[in-house]
């Protein structure tokens, strides 16, 4: 019910905004952690689009997901500046420490591991983002400590 009320409120907010589909989907993604597939026909109707168009937008952008996300996300920058400065090692460290591959969620649903292409910290590469915080000038040891910290936060609930 909570989801339906939120959707109704957001649809009301954005239905007359020019190009409002993206900000609408961003708010849904932000608030619910994903875009429920069953919400797509309703979004399409209010925004005067076909369900295929809405699905097309949802599936196009990396930021949108149609399944519930993990409680935290670890994004490791995989772009050139980080590749040049030890980023490849960090990719391996992240995989090993979390026991998952990129694009996967840990078994307990706590952390999703993702690649990101540039966080804009290239003068102090390599860089990662954990939820809304970014970290730069990292090395393997510091990334392991950050991941351990994330795990501790999780256990304390």
């Amino acid at each position: 019910m909570e989801t339906e009320r939120l959707l109704a409120q957001l649809l009301c907010q954005y239905q007359d905004t020019p190009g409002g589909l993206l900000p609408l989907l961003q708010d849904i993604q932000e608030d619910l952690g994903y875009i429920p597939p069953e919400s797509i026909p309703g979004i399409a109707e209010v925004m005067n689009l076909s369900a295929a168009e809405v699905h097309g937008v949802v599936s196009f952008y990396h930021d949108f997901s149609t399944r519930p996300g993990a409680r935290h996300s670890l994004q490791v920058c995989a772009a050139e500046s980080c590749q040049a400065s030890g980023g490849l090692e960090l990719e391996q460290v992240a995989r090993d420490a979390l026991g998952v591959n990129f694009g996967e969620v840990t078994d307990d649903g706590a952390v999703e591991l993702k690649k990101v292409y540039c966080l804009g910290n290239c003068a102090c590469s390599p860089s990662v983002r954990i939820d809304n915080e970014t970290y730069a000038r990292l090395d393997a040891g510091r990334l392991r400590a950050l991941i351990a910290g994330l795990r501790t936060t999780e256990e304390r609930g």
Partner: protein
């Protein structure tokens, strides 16, 4: 004694510990009952010195950096006379060798004050350009921009004046200014730095563009990877509205300009101007065929100025200082200042603003300070993921658009990513194709499929499988992508691949 302590509130500064330094300053001040002010300024762009702590006292301002939070109490407790002996002491930043040779125009204010303080902006000649433009007819504003020689800073380097002229002359009363803040190239952070350190300059430039072409609505399309930048811009727009710089009756004239901040959703291709317009309209970021040019049929089908953050910011400088002052800098058809971003494996990474025409090697020698790994530099990728990997034989190329293109490279948005001699160029070539496969919008087959096939072919070459035949296939594939793609994504992905093959053949053998 009025003392100000300044610790940047910039994404990168925070990512290397600036918040911890700021907290340590607060704690140290509170402990001794000191009522000195802590200012969270923008960064000056010398990211290798971040977290930077500046202390301003009796009109003197000096810096310490990079500072660890643990060092803060001792610095604050120190006698002024002993400062110069501290290992982190930098003296006056303006006189520091890393800044002294720079020509800061667009980034003149970056890092000096709280970026959201309108009074500080006004005190440093902010809104002078707008003040000038408000009393000029649109044609004269466009003429000023044209005479300055300002070219698009996003990468394509199209003359801004001609674009504005086209929009001004396009029929219709509904026009838009769309600021491209989808800074997705690895190795670039100039847009981010400007928006976080001097957001009002971008706002001012956008209002000027609006006045010049008769647009009353602007959009900033900001990438979602910059959450902190969003907060700064969002607040800045609100304050500019409250102060009467945005909205109806700007500066008590009849002019009006509304500005809305929009967020991207993690698609590199939306940095391409037509894909960005599609995204702003709420659709998949699929590129459009040109013509029609966005200047004729852009956002919502209306005439639209699409400019990069730095171009619009520079427009404010041009209107404040005059076209001649701007055009006096630079060389050839590249006028004004270039903002290079030193990134990757460098010791002294950060933003360097200098007139066009200096060589890449001079910049590296003066500013980069060698590699962080201490190993020799081997390849430098200039201009983002679609830019060529430059071999040392090309490092003496002057940094101007035409000279760089003649050497087979591209200046693009000014990103300089340095690789040391441990780099495997076959792997980098493969990454260029894989990145294109990941980020292609899918409209053009050579880009959508060619990049996937390109990755596979390079994998075979790396595995020593029919190398000669596969190298020839790869060349063929690159030709097809270059000739058969609508935009630079497919059209220029071959650049890093070909440069790797041409200048570093030993990595493929």
């Amino acid at each position: 004694m009025n003392t100000r302590y300044l610790v940047p509130r910039d994404t990168t500064a925070i990512a290397v510990g600036a918040n911890g330094v700021a907290d340590a300053v607060r704690t140290a001040l509170a402990a001794r009952g000191d009522e000195a002010t802590l200012v969270r300024n923008g960064s000056r762009g010398a990211f290798w010195l971040e977290p930077l702590l500046e202390i301003e006292r009796d009109g003197q301002r000096v810096g310490f950096g990079p500072v660890d939070a643990a060092e803060v109490p001792e610095i604050l407790a120190m006698d002024v006379a002993r400062w110069p002996r501290h290992s982190r002491y930098l003296g006056k930043l303006e006189e520091h060798p890393w800044f002294a040779g720079q020509t800061r125009l667009t980034f003149a204010r970056a890092g000096l004050d709280d970026p959201l303080c309108l009074e500080s902006y006004l005190a440093r000649h902010g809104f002078d350009g707008l003040e000038h433009a408000l009393h000029l007819p649109p044609e004269d504003i466009v003429d000023e921009i044209t005479r300055s020689g300002l070219r698009g800073r996003g990468g394509a380097a199209f003359p801004a004046g001609i674009k504005w002229q086209t929009v001004l002359e396009a029929p219709g009363s509904e026009k838009y200014i769309a600021c491209n803040a989808d800074e997705g190239d690895s190795g670039t952070f100039a847009d981010r730095l400007l928006m976080e350190a001097d957001p009002y300059q971008l706002i001012e430039g956008m209002i000027i563009a609006g006045l010049a072409v008769g647009a009353q609505q602007g959009y900033i399309y900001l990438r979602s990877e910059y959450p902190h930048t969003w907060e700064v811009l969002h607040t800045a727009i609100g304050k500019a509205e409250a102060a009467g710089y945005l909205g109806d009756n700007i500066g008590e004239t009849d002019h009006c300009f509304h500005l809305e901040l929009r967020q991207g959703a993690g698609a590199y291709i939306c940095g391409e101007e037509t894909a960005m317009l599609e995204s702003l309209e709420g659709r998949r970021g699929v590129v459009r065929a040109k013509p029609p040019l966005p200047a004729i049929q852009g956002l919502f089908g209306k005439p639209t100025v699409v400019n990069n953050v730095l171009t619009l910011a520079a427009a404010a400088t041009v209107m404040a200082d005059g076209a001649e002052a701007y055009a006096a800098l630079g060389q050839g058809r590249s006028r004004g200042t270039l903002t290079l971003q030193l990134a990757g494996n460098v010791r002294q990474g950060g933003l360097v603003e200098i007139p066009y025409g200096v060589t890449l090697r001079e910049v590296l020698d003066c500013y980069a300070g060698g590699t962080r790994s201490g190993r020799p530099m081997r390849a430098i990728q200039v201009g983002g993921p679609l830019g060529a990997y430059l071999h040392e034989s090309l490092w003496d190329t002057p940094l101007d658009y035409e000279a760089f293109a003649a050497a087979g490279g591209m200046l693009g948005h000014g990103g300089v990513v340095v690789f040391d001699d441990t780099v495997d160029m076959a792997r980098q070539a493969r990454f260029a194709m894989a990145f294109c496969a990941e980020e292609s919008c899918g409209k053009c087959t050579p880009c959508r499929l060619g990049s996937v096939r390109g990755t596979e072919v390079i994998d075979k070459i790396i595995a020593r499988d029919s190398v000669a035949a596969n190298l020839s296939l790869l060349e063929d594939l690159c030709d097809t992508m270059e000739m058969g793609s609508l935009c630079a994504m497919g059209g220029m992905t071959p650049q890093p691949v070909r440069s790797a093959l041409t200048y570093f053949p030993e990595d493929f053998a």
